[in-house]
Protein backbone atom coordinates (compact mmCIF):
# COMPACT_ATOMS: atom_id res chain seq x y z
CA UNK A 1 0.00 0.00 0.00
CA UNK A 2 1.42 3.36 -1.03
CA UNK A 3 1.12 5.76 1.89
CA UNK A 4 3.16 8.55 0.31
CA UNK A 5 1.54 11.91 -0.23
CA UNK A 6 2.48 15.46 -1.04
CA UNK A 7 1.53 18.83 0.33
CA UNK A 8 2.57 21.00 -2.56
CA UNK A 9 6.31 20.60 -2.90
CA UNK A 10 6.65 18.83 0.45
CA UNK A 11 6.80 15.05 0.03
CA UNK A 12 5.65 12.98 2.98
CA UNK A 13 6.30 9.28 3.54
CA UNK A 14 2.85 9.01 5.05
CA UNK A 15 0.03 11.48 5.66
CA UNK A 16 0.15 11.57 9.48
CA UNK A 17 1.81 14.59 11.14
CA UNK A 18 1.88 15.66 14.77
CA UNK A 19 -0.26 18.79 15.29
CA UNK A 20 1.29 21.99 16.53
CA UNK A 21 1.23 22.54 20.28
CA UNK A 22 0.50 18.95 21.18
CA UNK A 23 3.89 17.42 20.52
CA UNK A 24 6.30 20.04 21.84
CA UNK A 25 9.53 19.87 19.88
CA UNK A 26 9.88 16.11 19.83
CA UNK A 27 12.20 15.13 22.69
CA UNK A 28 9.36 15.18 25.19
CA UNK A 29 8.04 12.01 23.56
CA UNK A 30 11.46 10.40 23.25
CA UNK A 31 11.10 6.67 23.81
CA UNK A 32 7.39 6.83 23.10
CA UNK A 33 7.25 8.17 19.54
CA UNK A 34 9.83 7.70 16.79
CA UNK A 35 9.62 11.05 15.01
CA UNK A 36 11.30 9.71 11.88
CA UNK A 37 8.36 7.37 11.27
CA UNK A 38 5.81 10.16 11.27
CA UNK A 39 4.69 11.99 8.15
CA UNK A 40 6.08 15.02 9.93
CA UNK A 41 6.00 17.17 13.05
CA UNK A 42 4.43 20.61 13.37
CA UNK A 43 6.16 22.20 16.31
CA UNK A 44 4.65 24.55 18.90
CA UNK A 45 3.89 28.06 17.59
CA UNK A 46 7.05 30.20 17.47
CA UNK A 47 7.20 33.98 17.85
CA UNK A 48 10.15 36.38 17.44
CA UNK A 49 10.64 36.71 21.20
CA UNK A 50 9.60 34.30 23.98
CA UNK A 51 5.91 34.45 24.97
CA UNK A 52 4.72 33.79 28.47
CA UNK A 53 1.28 32.36 27.80
CA UNK A 54 -1.76 32.30 30.05
CA UNK A 55 -2.16 31.61 33.76
CA UNK A 56 -3.14 28.06 34.72
CA UNK A 57 -5.27 26.01 34.79
CA UNK A 58 -4.65 25.62 31.09
CA UNK A 59 -6.61 22.48 30.24
CA UNK A 60 -10.08 21.18 31.03
CA UNK A 61 -11.77 18.05 29.76
CA UNK A 62 -15.15 18.26 28.03
CA UNK A 63 -17.33 15.55 26.45
CA UNK A 64 -15.13 13.95 23.76
CA UNK A 65 -13.11 17.14 23.80
CA UNK A 66 -10.45 19.22 25.46
CA UNK A 67 -10.30 22.92 26.22
CA UNK A 68 -6.87 24.51 26.35
CA UNK A 69 -5.64 28.01 27.00
CA UNK A 70 -1.90 27.61 26.79
CA UNK A 71 -1.74 31.06 25.26
CA UNK A 72 1.08 30.24 22.87
CA UNK A 73 3.86 30.12 25.45
CA UNK A 74 7.05 29.50 23.49
CA UNK A 75 10.79 30.09 23.73
CA UNK A 76 11.03 32.46 20.76
CA UNK A 77 12.69 31.74 17.45
CA UNK A 78 16.32 32.00 18.59
CA UNK A 79 16.06 29.49 21.41
CA UNK A 80 13.93 27.30 19.16
CA UNK A 81 16.73 27.19 16.62
CA UNK A 82 19.53 26.63 19.07
CA UNK A 83 17.86 24.32 21.61
CA UNK A 84 14.81 22.70 20.10
CA UNK A 85 15.17 22.20 16.37
CA UNK A 86 18.30 20.02 16.52
CA UNK A 87 16.47 17.04 18.06
CA UNK A 88 14.04 16.75 15.15
CA UNK A 89 16.63 17.66 12.52
CA UNK A 90 19.09 15.07 13.77
CA UNK A 91 16.48 12.35 13.49
CA UNK A 92 15.49 13.26 9.97
CA UNK A 93 11.96 14.27 10.85
CA UNK A 94 9.98 16.39 8.42
CA UNK A 95 9.56 19.63 10.33
CA UNK A 96 6.80 22.18 9.90
CA UNK A 97 7.36 25.27 11.99
CA UNK A 98 4.15 26.84 13.23
CA UNK A 99 4.68 30.61 13.45
CA UNK A 100 2.81 33.30 15.36
CA UNK A 101 3.05 37.00 15.80
CA UNK A 102 1.25 40.03 17.15
CA UNK A 103 1.73 41.92 13.90
CA UNK A 104 2.38 41.19 10.28
CA UNK A 105 5.99 42.23 10.83
CA UNK A 106 6.43 39.73 13.61
CA UNK A 107 5.15 36.90 11.40
CA UNK A 108 7.50 38.02 8.65
CA UNK A 109 10.40 38.28 11.08
CA UNK A 110 10.06 34.65 12.19
CA UNK A 111 9.65 33.52 8.59
CA UNK A 112 12.75 35.42 7.52
CA UNK A 113 14.79 33.99 10.39
CA UNK A 114 13.75 30.43 9.48
CA UNK A 115 14.37 30.87 5.77
CA UNK A 116 17.15 28.55 4.71
CA UNK A 117 17.44 26.88 8.12
CA UNK A 118 18.46 23.30 7.65
CA UNK A 119 15.82 20.84 8.87
CA UNK A 120 12.79 23.05 8.33
CA UNK A 121 10.56 21.83 5.48
CA UNK A 122 7.63 24.23 5.72
CA UNK A 123 6.08 27.03 7.73
CA UNK A 124 2.59 26.88 9.11
CA UNK A 125 1.08 30.31 9.65
CA UNK A 126 -1.13 30.23 12.72
CA UNK A 127 -3.55 33.07 12.09
CA UNK A 128 -6.22 31.32 14.04
CA UNK A 129 -5.29 30.67 17.63
CA UNK A 130 -8.15 31.72 19.87
CA UNK A 131 -5.95 32.02 22.93
CA UNK A 132 -4.35 35.41 22.58
CA UNK A 133 -6.10 38.66 23.01
CA UNK A 134 -4.19 40.96 20.66
CA UNK A 135 -2.69 39.84 17.41
CA UNK A 136 -3.09 36.53 15.68
CA UNK A 137 -6.76 36.07 16.08
CA UNK A 138 -8.01 39.10 14.19
CA UNK A 139 -6.24 37.81 11.10
CA UNK A 140 -8.33 34.68 11.55
CA UNK A 141 -11.59 35.96 10.15
CA UNK A 142 -10.70 38.91 7.96
CA UNK A 143 -9.81 37.79 4.43
CA UNK A 144 -7.99 41.05 3.64
CA UNK A 145 -5.71 40.84 6.69
CA UNK A 146 -5.14 37.13 6.21
CA UNK A 147 -4.16 37.76 2.63
CA UNK A 148 -1.83 40.55 3.64
CA UNK A 149 0.03 38.56 6.31
CA UNK A 150 0.35 35.63 3.91
CA UNK A 151 1.90 37.89 1.31
CA UNK A 152 4.30 39.35 3.87
CA UNK A 153 5.44 35.92 4.98
CA UNK A 154 5.80 34.63 1.42
CA UNK A 155 8.01 37.61 0.65
CA UNK A 156 10.20 36.81 3.65
CA UNK A 157 10.98 33.18 2.91
CA UNK A 158 11.47 30.64 0.17
CA UNK A 159 9.95 27.93 2.35
CA UNK A 160 6.49 26.58 1.52
CA UNK A 161 3.87 28.39 3.57
CA UNK A 162 0.82 26.59 4.94
CA UNK A 163 -1.85 28.88 6.36
CA UNK A 164 -3.78 27.47 9.30
CA UNK A 165 -7.39 28.60 9.39
CA UNK A 166 -9.75 29.17 12.26
CA UNK A 167 -13.16 27.52 12.22
CA UNK A 168 -14.56 30.45 14.22
CA UNK A 169 -15.93 32.14 11.12
CA UNK A 170 -18.81 31.66 8.72
CA UNK A 171 -16.57 32.41 5.78
CA UNK A 172 -14.01 29.64 5.65
CA UNK A 173 -14.12 29.33 1.87
CA UNK A 174 -13.56 33.07 1.50
CA UNK A 175 -10.62 32.96 3.87
CA UNK A 176 -9.14 30.05 1.94
CA UNK A 177 -9.51 31.82 -1.38
CA UNK A 178 -7.93 34.95 0.03
CA UNK A 179 -4.81 33.23 1.33
CA UNK A 180 -4.52 31.02 -1.75
CA UNK A 181 -4.58 34.12 -3.94
CA UNK A 182 -1.91 35.63 -1.69
CA UNK A 183 0.40 32.73 -2.46
CA UNK A 184 -0.20 30.19 0.30
CA UNK A 185 1.15 26.78 -0.67
CA UNK A 186 -1.36 24.84 1.42
CA UNK A 187 -4.07 25.31 3.98
CA UNK A 188 -4.19 23.68 7.41
CA UNK A 189 -7.66 23.25 8.84
CA UNK A 190 -8.70 23.49 11.54
CA UNK A 191 -7.44 25.16 14.63
CA UNK A 192 -9.54 24.94 17.81
CA UNK A 193 -12.98 26.46 18.37
CA UNK A 194 -13.46 29.05 21.08
CA UNK A 195 -15.14 27.47 24.08
CA UNK A 196 -15.22 27.63 27.83
CA UNK A 197 -16.30 25.79 30.94
CA UNK A 198 -17.29 26.97 34.39
CA UNK A 199 -15.72 25.59 37.55
CA UNK A 200 -18.93 25.35 39.56
CA UNK A 201 -17.24 24.92 42.88
CA UNK A 202 -15.22 28.10 42.49
CA UNK A 203 -17.93 29.98 40.57
CA UNK A 204 -15.53 31.10 37.89
CA UNK A 205 -14.21 30.05 34.52
CA UNK A 206 -12.37 26.75 34.68
CA UNK A 207 -9.43 28.03 32.64
CA UNK A 208 -7.03 30.69 33.80
CA UNK A 209 -7.41 32.27 30.36
CA UNK A 210 -11.23 32.27 30.78
CA UNK A 211 -11.96 31.01 27.27
CA UNK A 212 -9.97 28.32 25.51
CA UNK A 213 -9.68 26.32 22.34
CA UNK A 214 -11.79 23.21 21.92
CA UNK A 215 -10.10 20.22 20.28
CA UNK A 216 -10.63 16.48 20.13
CA UNK A 217 -13.25 14.17 18.61
CA UNK A 218 -16.02 16.60 19.60
CA UNK A 219 -14.94 18.94 16.79
CA UNK A 220 -14.29 16.29 14.15
CA UNK A 221 -17.57 16.93 12.24
CA UNK A 222 -16.68 20.62 12.06
CA UNK A 223 -13.18 19.83 10.87
CA UNK A 224 -14.39 17.42 8.19
CA UNK A 225 -16.82 20.05 6.95
CA UNK A 226 -14.04 22.64 6.90
CA UNK A 227 -11.76 20.38 4.87
CA UNK A 228 -14.64 19.57 2.51
CA UNK A 229 -15.44 23.24 1.98
CA UNK A 230 -11.88 24.50 1.67
CA UNK A 231 -10.63 21.72 -0.57
CA UNK A 232 -13.39 22.52 -3.05
CA UNK A 233 -12.86 26.27 -2.82
CA UNK A 234 -9.15 26.32 -3.67
CA UNK A 235 -6.65 24.37 -5.75
CA UNK A 236 -3.88 24.20 -3.17
CA UNK A 237 -3.69 21.14 -0.91
CA UNK A 238 -5.37 20.95 2.46
CA UNK A 239 -3.89 19.47 5.62
CA UNK A 240 -6.82 18.34 7.75
CA UNK A 241 -7.06 18.00 11.49
CA UNK A 242 -9.49 18.03 14.38
CA UNK A 243 -10.35 15.04 16.52
CA UNK A 244 -8.50 12.37 14.58
CA UNK A 245 -8.00 9.24 16.68
CA UNK A 246 -7.93 6.30 14.29
CA UNK A 247 -6.96 5.28 10.77
CA UNK A 248 -10.67 5.31 9.90
CA UNK A 249 -10.81 8.97 10.91
CA UNK A 250 -7.83 9.67 8.66
CA UNK A 251 -9.63 8.09 5.71
CA UNK A 252 -12.66 10.29 6.43
CA UNK A 253 -10.44 13.38 6.15
CA UNK A 254 -8.78 12.11 2.97
CA UNK A 255 -12.16 11.50 1.35
CA UNK A 256 -13.28 14.97 2.43
CA UNK A 257 -10.34 16.38 0.49
CA UNK A 258 -7.29 16.44 2.76
CA UNK A 259 -3.89 15.57 1.30
CA UNK A 260 -2.43 14.92 4.74
CA UNK A 261 -3.64 15.12 8.34
CA UNK A 262 -2.42 16.08 11.76
CA UNK A 263 -3.11 14.40 15.06
CA UNK A 264 -3.18 16.48 18.22
CA UNK A 265 -5.25 15.78 21.29
CA UNK A 266 -5.27 12.01 20.72
CA UNK A 267 -1.55 11.89 21.48
CA UNK A 268 -2.16 13.00 25.07
CA UNK A 269 -4.27 9.98 25.81
CA UNK A 270 -2.44 7.55 23.50
CA UNK A 271 1.15 8.62 22.77
CA UNK A 272 1.24 5.75 20.28
CA UNK A 273 -1.88 6.97 18.46
CA UNK A 274 0.04 8.19 15.40
CA UNK A 275 2.14 5.03 15.15
CA UNK A 276 -0.99 2.88 15.43
CA UNK A 277 -2.75 4.91 12.76
CA UNK A 278 0.18 4.59 10.37
CA UNK A 279 0.32 0.85 10.98
CA UNK A 280 -3.42 0.35 10.44
CA UNK A 281 -3.91 2.79 7.58
CA UNK A 282 -3.10 0.33 4.76
CA UNK A 283 -5.77 -2.12 5.92
CA UNK A 284 -8.39 0.55 6.37
CA UNK A 285 -7.68 2.07 2.95
CA UNK A 286 -7.92 -1.38 1.40
CA UNK A 287 -11.20 -2.11 3.19
CA UNK A 288 -12.78 0.89 1.47
CA UNK A 289 -11.31 0.02 -1.90
CA UNK A 290 -8.29 2.34 -2.14
CA UNK A 291 -4.84 1.23 -3.21
CA UNK A 292 -3.02 4.35 -2.09
CA UNK A 293 -3.42 7.43 0.02
CA UNK A 294 -3.46 9.55 -3.12
CA UNK A 295 -6.43 7.66 -4.54
CA UNK A 296 -8.50 8.50 -1.47
CA UNK A 297 -7.91 12.26 -1.50
CA UNK A 298 -11.20 13.99 -2.30
CA UNK A 299 -12.83 10.69 -3.23
CA UNK A 300 -16.15 11.76 -1.64
CA UNK A 301 -16.33 15.02 -3.57
CA UNK A 302 -19.55 15.54 -5.55
CA UNK A 303 -18.01 14.99 -8.97
CA UNK A 304 -16.84 11.57 -7.85
CA UNK A 305 -19.97 10.18 -6.17
CA UNK A 306 -20.68 6.63 -7.31
CA UNK A 307 -23.87 6.31 -9.33
Amino acid sequence: MDLATRVGAVRLANPVLAASGTFGFGPEYDGLVDVAQLGGVAVKGISPEPWRGNPPPRVWETPSGLLNSIGLQNPGVERFLSEDLPYLRDRGATVVVNIIGRTEDEYAAVARRLDGERGVQALELNISCPNIKQGGIQFGHDPAQASSVTRAVKAATALPVWVKLSPNTHNLAGMARAVAAAGADAISAINTLVGMAIDLEHRRPALGGVTGGLSGPAIRPIAVRAVWEVSQAVDIPVVGMGGIETATDVVEFLLAGASAVMVGTATFSRPNAMATIIRELPDVLARYGFDSVRAAIGAAHPGRWPA
Partner: protein
Protein backbone atom coordinates in the same frame (compact mmCIF):
# COMPACT_ATOMS: atom_id res chain seq x y z
CA UNK B 1 9.62 6.79 30.39
CA UNK B 2 7.91 3.87 28.71
CA UNK B 3 4.23 3.29 28.11
CA UNK B 4 3.20 0.00 29.59
CA UNK B 5 0.28 -2.17 30.53
CA UNK B 6 0.46 -3.13 34.18
CA UNK B 7 -1.59 -5.85 35.79
CA UNK B 8 -3.63 -5.07 38.87
CA UNK B 9 -2.69 -7.62 41.51
CA UNK B 10 -4.48 -6.15 44.48
CA UNK B 11 -7.40 -3.80 45.07
CA UNK B 12 -7.70 -2.20 48.51
CA UNK B 13 -10.00 0.35 50.05
CA UNK B 14 -7.86 1.87 52.78
CA UNK B 15 -10.55 4.42 53.65
CA UNK B 16 -14.00 5.43 52.44
CA UNK B 17 -13.75 6.80 48.87
CA UNK B 18 -10.07 5.88 48.74
CA UNK B 19 -8.69 3.04 46.65
CA UNK B 20 -5.19 1.66 46.36
CA UNK B 21 -4.35 -0.46 43.34
CA UNK B 22 -1.22 -2.58 43.50
CA UNK B 23 0.38 -3.24 40.14
CA UNK B 24 2.91 -5.81 39.08
CA UNK B 25 5.94 -3.83 37.91
CA UNK B 26 9.30 -5.12 39.10
CA UNK B 27 11.41 -2.61 37.19
CA UNK B 28 9.37 0.36 38.31
CA UNK B 29 9.42 -0.87 41.89
CA UNK B 30 13.19 -0.93 41.79
CA UNK B 31 13.83 2.29 39.86
CA UNK B 32 11.19 4.64 41.13
CA UNK B 33 12.15 7.92 42.78
CA UNK B 34 9.75 8.94 45.58
CA UNK B 35 7.42 11.64 44.29
CA UNK B 36 7.33 10.39 40.72
CA UNK B 37 3.93 9.67 39.24
CA UNK B 38 2.09 7.55 36.72
CA UNK B 39 -0.05 9.08 33.99
CA UNK B 40 -2.88 6.60 33.85
CA UNK B 41 -5.23 6.08 30.94
CA UNK B 42 -8.89 6.53 31.74
CA UNK B 43 -11.75 6.99 29.26
CA UNK B 44 -11.90 10.51 27.83
CA UNK B 45 -9.40 12.98 26.44
CA UNK B 46 -6.81 12.99 29.20
CA UNK B 47 -4.92 10.60 31.41
CA UNK B 48 -4.89 11.03 35.18
CA UNK B 49 -1.69 11.75 37.15
CA UNK B 50 -1.37 9.62 40.30
CA UNK B 51 1.73 9.45 42.51
CA UNK B 52 3.18 6.12 43.45
CA UNK B 53 2.18 5.18 46.98
CA UNK B 54 4.61 2.32 47.56
CA UNK B 55 7.20 0.09 45.94
CA UNK B 56 7.52 -3.35 47.44
CA UNK B 57 10.51 -5.70 47.47
CA UNK B 58 8.44 -8.29 45.59
CA UNK B 59 8.06 -5.98 42.61
CA UNK B 60 4.78 -4.20 43.13
CA UNK B 61 3.96 -0.52 43.01
CA UNK B 62 0.89 1.17 44.45
CA UNK B 63 -1.42 3.93 43.28
CA UNK B 64 -3.56 5.32 46.07
CA UNK B 65 -6.23 7.82 45.14
CA UNK B 66 -9.36 9.45 46.34
CA UNK B 67 -12.44 9.08 44.14
CA UNK B 68 -13.29 12.65 43.16
CA UNK B 69 -14.61 12.44 39.60
CA UNK B 70 -15.19 10.29 36.54
CA UNK B 71 -11.57 9.27 36.04
CA UNK B 72 -10.86 8.14 39.57
CA UNK B 73 -14.28 6.44 39.70
CA UNK B 74 -13.36 4.43 36.63
CA UNK B 75 -10.00 3.57 38.18
CA UNK B 76 -11.68 2.51 41.41
CA UNK B 77 -13.68 -0.03 39.39
CA UNK B 78 -10.59 -1.82 38.07
CA UNK B 79 -10.27 -5.31 39.44
CA UNK B 80 -7.50 -7.81 40.05
CA UNK B 81 -6.34 -9.09 36.67
CA UNK B 82 -7.30 -5.94 34.75
CA UNK B 83 -4.49 -4.05 33.08
CA UNK B 84 -3.81 -0.35 33.44
CA UNK B 85 -2.23 1.58 30.60
CA UNK B 86 0.31 3.84 32.30
CA UNK B 87 3.13 6.18 31.37
CA UNK B 88 5.62 5.87 34.18
CA UNK B 89 7.70 6.78 35.98
CA UNK B 90 7.15 10.45 35.12
CA UNK B 91 8.59 13.64 36.55
CA UNK B 92 11.30 14.49 38.99
CA UNK B 93 10.85 13.13 42.48
CA UNK B 94 12.40 14.06 45.82
CA UNK B 95 16.19 14.32 45.82
CA UNK B 96 18.34 12.05 47.91
CA UNK B 97 18.24 13.74 51.30
CA UNK B 98 21.22 15.61 52.63
CA UNK B 99 22.68 14.47 55.91
CA UNK B 100 20.53 15.24 58.91
CA UNK B 101 16.94 14.75 59.94
CA UNK B 102 14.06 14.68 57.49
CA UNK B 103 10.53 15.79 58.18
CA UNK B 104 7.84 14.41 55.91
CA UNK B 105 4.66 16.48 55.83
CA UNK B 106 1.70 14.98 53.99
CA UNK B 107 -1.85 16.20 53.58
CA UNK B 108 -4.74 14.05 52.34
CA UNK B 109 -3.86 12.25 49.12
CA UNK B 110 -0.49 13.99 49.35
CA UNK B 111 0.48 11.35 51.87
CA UNK B 112 1.19 8.42 49.48
CA UNK B 113 4.35 9.73 47.74
CA UNK B 114 5.88 10.49 51.14
CA UNK B 115 5.49 6.87 52.08
CA UNK B 116 7.69 5.87 49.15
CA UNK B 117 10.22 8.38 50.49
CA UNK B 118 10.00 6.84 53.94
CA UNK B 119 10.45 3.35 52.48
CA UNK B 120 13.53 4.50 50.64
CA UNK B 121 15.32 6.65 53.22
CA UNK B 122 13.91 6.25 56.72
CA UNK B 123 16.52 3.58 57.47
CA UNK B 124 19.41 5.93 56.71
CA UNK B 125 17.99 9.28 57.82
CA UNK B 126 16.30 10.16 61.10
CA UNK B 127 12.78 10.73 59.89
CA UNK B 128 9.77 12.38 61.49
CA UNK B 129 6.35 12.34 59.96
CA UNK B 130 3.40 14.73 60.11
CA UNK B 131 0.21 13.59 58.43
CA UNK B 132 -2.92 15.66 58.16
CA UNK B 133 -6.37 15.32 56.68
CA UNK B 134 -9.79 16.85 56.97
CA UNK B 135 -11.13 14.01 59.07
CA UNK B 136 -9.91 10.68 60.45
CA UNK B 137 -11.58 8.94 57.51
CA UNK B 138 -9.30 10.66 54.99
CA UNK B 139 -6.04 10.08 56.82
CA UNK B 140 -4.50 7.20 54.93
CA UNK B 141 -1.35 5.09 55.32
CA UNK B 142 -0.65 5.90 58.99
CA UNK B 143 -0.25 2.19 59.68
CA UNK B 144 2.16 1.83 56.80
CA UNK B 145 4.42 4.52 58.27
CA UNK B 146 4.13 2.91 61.71
CA UNK B 147 5.16 -0.42 60.23
CA UNK B 148 8.45 1.27 59.28
CA UNK B 149 8.87 2.08 62.96
CA UNK B 150 8.28 5.79 62.52
CA UNK B 151 6.66 8.12 65.03
CA UNK B 152 3.76 10.06 63.60
CA UNK B 153 2.16 13.38 64.44
CA UNK B 154 -1.38 13.33 63.14
CA UNK B 155 -3.70 16.26 62.64
CA UNK B 156 -7.28 16.53 61.45
CA UNK B 157 -9.27 19.67 60.77
CA UNK B 158 -12.11 18.39 62.94
CA UNK B 159 -10.01 16.73 65.62
CA UNK B 160 -11.47 13.31 64.86
CA UNK B 161 -7.94 11.88 64.93
CA UNK B 162 -4.73 13.25 66.45
CA UNK B 163 -4.37 16.94 67.04
CA UNK B 164 -7.15 19.27 65.92
CA UNK B 165 -5.84 21.68 63.31
CA UNK B 166 -3.40 21.77 60.44
CA UNK B 167 -0.06 20.12 59.75
CA UNK B 168 1.57 23.51 60.32
CA UNK B 169 1.22 23.05 64.08
CA UNK B 170 3.51 20.00 64.42
CA UNK B 171 5.69 21.43 61.63
CA UNK B 172 6.34 24.64 63.57
CA UNK B 173 7.22 22.66 66.69
CA UNK B 174 9.58 20.41 64.73
CA UNK B 175 11.29 23.44 63.21
CA UNK B 176 11.67 24.98 66.66
CA UNK B 177 13.20 21.89 68.22
CA UNK B 178 15.33 20.69 65.30
CA UNK B 179 18.64 22.02 64.14
CA UNK B 180 19.10 21.92 60.39
CA UNK B 181 17.45 19.10 58.56
CA UNK B 182 15.06 19.31 55.70
CA UNK B 183 11.34 19.26 55.03
CA UNK B 184 9.57 17.31 52.29
CA UNK B 185 5.91 17.98 51.76
CA UNK B 186 3.05 16.93 49.54
CA UNK B 187 -0.57 18.03 49.74
CA UNK B 188 -2.98 20.70 48.55
CA UNK B 189 -1.32 23.83 47.17
CA UNK B 190 -2.40 26.13 50.06
CA UNK B 191 -0.81 23.66 52.49
CA UNK B 192 2.41 23.68 50.46
CA UNK B 193 2.47 27.46 50.51
CA UNK B 194 2.06 27.48 54.27
CA UNK B 195 4.79 24.86 54.69
CA UNK B 196 7.19 26.80 52.48
CA UNK B 197 6.56 29.98 54.39
CA UNK B 198 7.13 28.36 57.78
CA UNK B 199 10.29 26.54 56.73
CA UNK B 200 11.73 29.70 55.22
CA UNK B 201 14.95 29.95 53.25
CA UNK B 202 17.35 28.39 55.74
CA UNK B 203 16.61 24.73 55.33
CA UNK B 204 16.01 22.72 52.19
CA UNK B 205 12.30 22.42 51.55
CA UNK B 206 10.98 20.20 48.76
CA UNK B 207 7.38 20.30 47.70
CA UNK B 208 5.38 17.94 45.47
CA UNK B 209 2.93 19.98 43.44
CA UNK B 210 -0.36 19.35 41.62
CA UNK B 211 -1.63 20.98 38.46
CA UNK B 212 -4.06 19.98 35.75
CA UNK B 213 -2.14 18.15 33.07
CA UNK B 214 -2.37 17.44 29.37
CA UNK B 215 0.42 15.29 28.01
CA UNK B 216 2.23 14.55 31.29
CA UNK B 217 5.60 14.51 29.50
CA UNK B 218 6.47 18.20 29.10
CA UNK B 219 5.20 18.77 25.57
CA UNK B 220 1.96 20.73 25.91
CA UNK B 221 2.79 23.34 28.57
CA UNK B 222 -0.54 22.78 30.31
CA UNK B 223 0.67 21.99 33.81
CA UNK B 224 2.61 25.13 34.65
CA UNK B 225 2.95 26.84 38.00
CA UNK B 226 4.84 30.05 38.65
CA UNK B 227 8.52 29.47 39.25
CA UNK B 228 11.64 31.56 39.51
CA UNK B 229 13.90 31.72 36.47
CA UNK B 230 17.68 31.86 36.45
CA UNK B 231 17.44 35.64 36.29
CA UNK B 232 15.26 35.82 39.40
CA UNK B 233 12.27 36.69 37.27
CA UNK B 234 9.05 34.69 37.26
CA UNK B 235 8.87 31.90 34.72
CA UNK B 236 6.48 29.01 34.33
CA UNK B 237 7.69 25.62 35.42
CA UNK B 238 6.05 22.39 34.32
CA UNK B 239 4.75 20.19 37.12
CA UNK B 240 4.95 17.08 34.92
CA UNK B 241 8.52 17.48 33.76
CA UNK B 242 10.34 20.05 35.89
CA UNK B 243 8.44 18.69 38.94
CA UNK B 244 6.19 17.55 40.47
CA UNK B 245 8.76 17.98 43.23
CA UNK B 246 10.34 21.43 43.39
CA UNK B 247 12.66 23.12 45.80
CA UNK B 248 10.63 25.86 47.48
CA UNK B 249 13.30 28.25 46.21
CA UNK B 250 12.38 27.41 42.63
CA UNK B 251 8.75 28.46 43.16
CA UNK B 252 7.30 31.92 43.00
CA UNK B 253 5.28 32.73 46.06
CA UNK B 254 4.25 36.30 45.29
CA UNK B 255 0.65 35.71 44.41
CA UNK B 256 -1.93 33.03 44.40
CA UNK B 257 -1.63 32.96 40.61
CA UNK B 258 -1.31 29.44 39.39
CA UNK B 259 -2.60 27.90 42.57
CA UNK B 260 -5.39 26.09 40.75
Amino acid sequence: MPQCELRVVEHREPAPEHVELLLEAPRLAADLTPGQFAHVWTPGSLRRPISFSRATPDGRVGLLFRVVGAGTRWLAERRVGDRLDVLAPLGKGFPTPEAGPVLLVGGGVGIPPLFVAAQRWAATHPTDVVLGARTADALVMADDFRALGLDLSLTTDDGSLGERGRVTGPLARWLARTDGGQVWACGPTPMLAAVAQLVGEERPCWLAYEQRMGCGVGACLACVVPGVGGDGQPEWVRVCHDGPVFSSRRLWWAGAEGEA
